[in-house]
């Protein structure tokens, strides 16, 4: 009873067989149904996310947020979608029509594809790809391509600048991301996301907090969310790559961004927070879906929290932070953890985890010490304090001033 989704699947399969279809055709039909179900479920969730995002940001900003359409404004995203759908669809002069129209589809499509490998519970997942982690990285590359296409095809300088920044940012942050992603792979001895979740009798975030942090930071950068939202920095390049998009095409980018944020939450939850694991999730897999989404939404909330509290960092700071801090740190932590993994026997999971945690704490502490040492303010002194903080005018001037103000 704890696994209704598998039950329904089995029933459907039997039904198809009873119609006398070939096994190959049945599995094809089942796969198509699975894709359709997951994709539509995720897209429906996406509509809800619009509401969540708007409501949460409103609370962060001491506002009420949408509260007119439906209870607590929950119908608001539907209204938004209707608005987007009936908006005029503009194709800029000089735009590359095919590429321009293809870009938003790629933006949302790549995010949807990520859900193919995310294990929602012990029994519900798209596919247990044995290179799941790499698959995630590969899709990140394709989503970059979508943004470049949008930026190039729009025939707009801001869009192009946004695309340039995208490449600089995504390609750079992929490096520490991939390195940090190797840590859960080492810990779980597998690249399959399902195996990684299975391996997390102790959540990896407790074993490897620093890689978890690096993955979170770099994922935010890959998302292009604040403080790394240079690719669509409103105050600089207006809207970046999607400046020329209107109506539902813009809506696809917007939906893609929101969904991507939740998906990243899901990925990090899977890799570091035990995925669907939770009390009773083994026996009742339906609970696993619940746990998974709780964790994903929590991380989504964290990402929003960061986005709505921090200003944007500048492009050179962004690159420096990546190449001079994140990449070395992730390399060091990967090497250290790989060595420790070889040395410490995995017989007692508790001891192993404690040693790993200890190593992380040491590396983290050393990093902080190094940072503190380098934190000597590099601020340029342009002027020594003048002694006249409160101008005492020269004697002649003083008389003139007091004479005019005899009251």
């Amino acid at each position: 009873m704890g696994d209704p989704i598998t039950l329904i699947g089995k029933w459907l399969e039997n039904l198809l067989y009873s119609w006398g279809l070939m096994p190959g055709v049945v599995s094809l039909i089942m796969a198509v149904i699975g894709v359709v179900v997951i994709a539509s479920a995720v897209l429906v969730l996406d509509i809800l996310l619009v509401w969540v995002e708007r409501k949460v940001v409103a609370r962060f900003q001491d506002r009420l947020g949408p509260n007119r359409v439906g209870p607590f404004g929950i119908i608001q995203p539907i209204a938004d979608v209707i608005k987007l759908l009936i908006k005029e669809d503009i194709l800029p002069i000089g735009a590359d029509k095919i590429v321009y129209n293809l870009a938003p589809i790629m933006a949302l499509g790549t995010v949807l594809l990520l859900w193919a490998v995310l294990p929602l519970s012990s029994t519900v997942y798209g596919t247990n790809l044995n290179v799941g982690v790499l698959y995630i990285v590969a899709l990140g590359a394709i989503s970059t391509l979508g943004i470049i296409m949008a930026g190039w095809a729009s025939n707009n300088k801001y869009a192009l600048l946004g695309a340039f920044r995208t490449v600089a940012q995504m390609v750079s942050y992929e490096v520490p991301l991939v390195i940090a992603l190797l840590v859960p792979v080492i810990l779980a001895r597998s690249m399959g996301l399902t195996d990684i979740v299975e391996a997390q009798s102790i959540w990896f975030v407790f074993i490897a907090p620093i890689p978890a942090l690096i993955v979170l930071i770099t994922s935010i950068a890959e998302l292009g969310r604040a403080p790394f939202d240079l690719i669509e920095a409103e105050s600089e390049i207006v809207a970046g790559f999607h400046i020329e998009y209107t109506g539902m095409k813009f809506g696809l980018f917007y939906a893609g961004e929101l969904l991507h944020a939740l998906t990243v939450g899901g990925i990090i939850a899977t890799l570091f927070l035990g995925g669907w694991r939770g009390p009773g999730a083994e026996t009742y897999p339906i609970l696993g879906i619940f746990y998974f989404f709780i964790k994903a939404l929590f991380l989504y909330w964290v990402i929003m929290w960061i986005k709505y509290s921090l200003p944007r960092i500048r492009i050179d700071h962004m690159l420096n932070f990546n190449w001079k801090f994140l990449t070395p740190l992730s390399l060091v932590i990967l090497i250290v953890m790989a060595i420790v993994d070889k040395i410490v026997p995995k017989t007692s999971m508790l001891v192993y985890s404690l040693v790993m945690l200890f190593v992380n704490v040491v590396v983290g502490w050393l990093t902080l010490q190094l940072l503190r040492r380098n934190a000597k303010s590099a601020r340029m002194r342009v002027a020594e304090p003048k002694p006249v903080a409160r101008p005492e005018p020269s004697p002649t001037a003083a008389t003139s001033q007091t004479s005019s103000s005899s009251s």
């Binding site: 094809l28 590429v99 290179v131 990285v137 590969a138 391509l145 470049i148 490449v167």
Partner: protein
């Protein structure tokens, strides 16, 4: 024909067609995007061969790195993105001859090879090709030397790139 064969045919047509578009289209960005399609098709072929790692690596490296780098370079030189010159060079007849000869030679060689007719041994479900590949890359009995040579080559290329772009004035 099995469904697998149908998919294979569609993919191959896609790969070849887009490869043709790469060399015939006049817009450089379009050419790069067609190249992406072609490379993606190759990744699909790998998937059909159950070589998931190669497929994903194909996408990461060829699409995620090489193609994007190409597009980036093209975008930076946007003014020459549209080509109006002739698309063939004067020696195209010789190229055709060489290509035909090469194709014929390959066909002749492969016709005597029995790889097409022998059935592939089924992989046991326990086998983990990924870890075997990893072991092979760092095993002294297998490919550790080429692997390391490749890494040294890449490293020197990296340093060379830095040297070329080094701004000596700012140190």
């Amino acid at each position: 024909m099995t469904p697998l064969q149908i998919i294979f045919l569609i993919t191959s047509v896609g790969i070849l067609g887009s490869a043709l578009m790469v060399v015939t289209t006049r817009n450089l960005v379009h050419a790069a995007l067609w190249l992406v399609v072609s490379l993606f098709g190759v990744a699909v072929l790998y998937v059909m061969l159950s070589a998931a790692f190669l497929a994903v690596a194909q996408v990461v490296i060829y699409i995620g790195a090489i193609a994007i780098l190409m597009i980036f370079a093209i975008m930076l030189t946007r003014r020459v993105a549209k080509d109006s010159g002739p698309q063939t060079n004067p020696n195209w007849t010789w190229a055709v001859v060489v290509a035909a000869a090469l194709f014929g030679g390959l066909t002749w060689l492969l016709s005597s090879w029995n790889g097409f007719s022998t059935p592939i041994p089924e992989l046991s479900s326990r086998a983990d090709p990924l870890s075997q590949l990893g072991q092979a890359l760092v095993s002294p009995n297998a490919y550790v030397l080429p692997f390391e040579v490749a890494s040294v080559l890449l490293l020197s290329a990296l340093i060379g790139a830095i040297m070329v772009a080094w701004d000596r004035r700012s140190g």
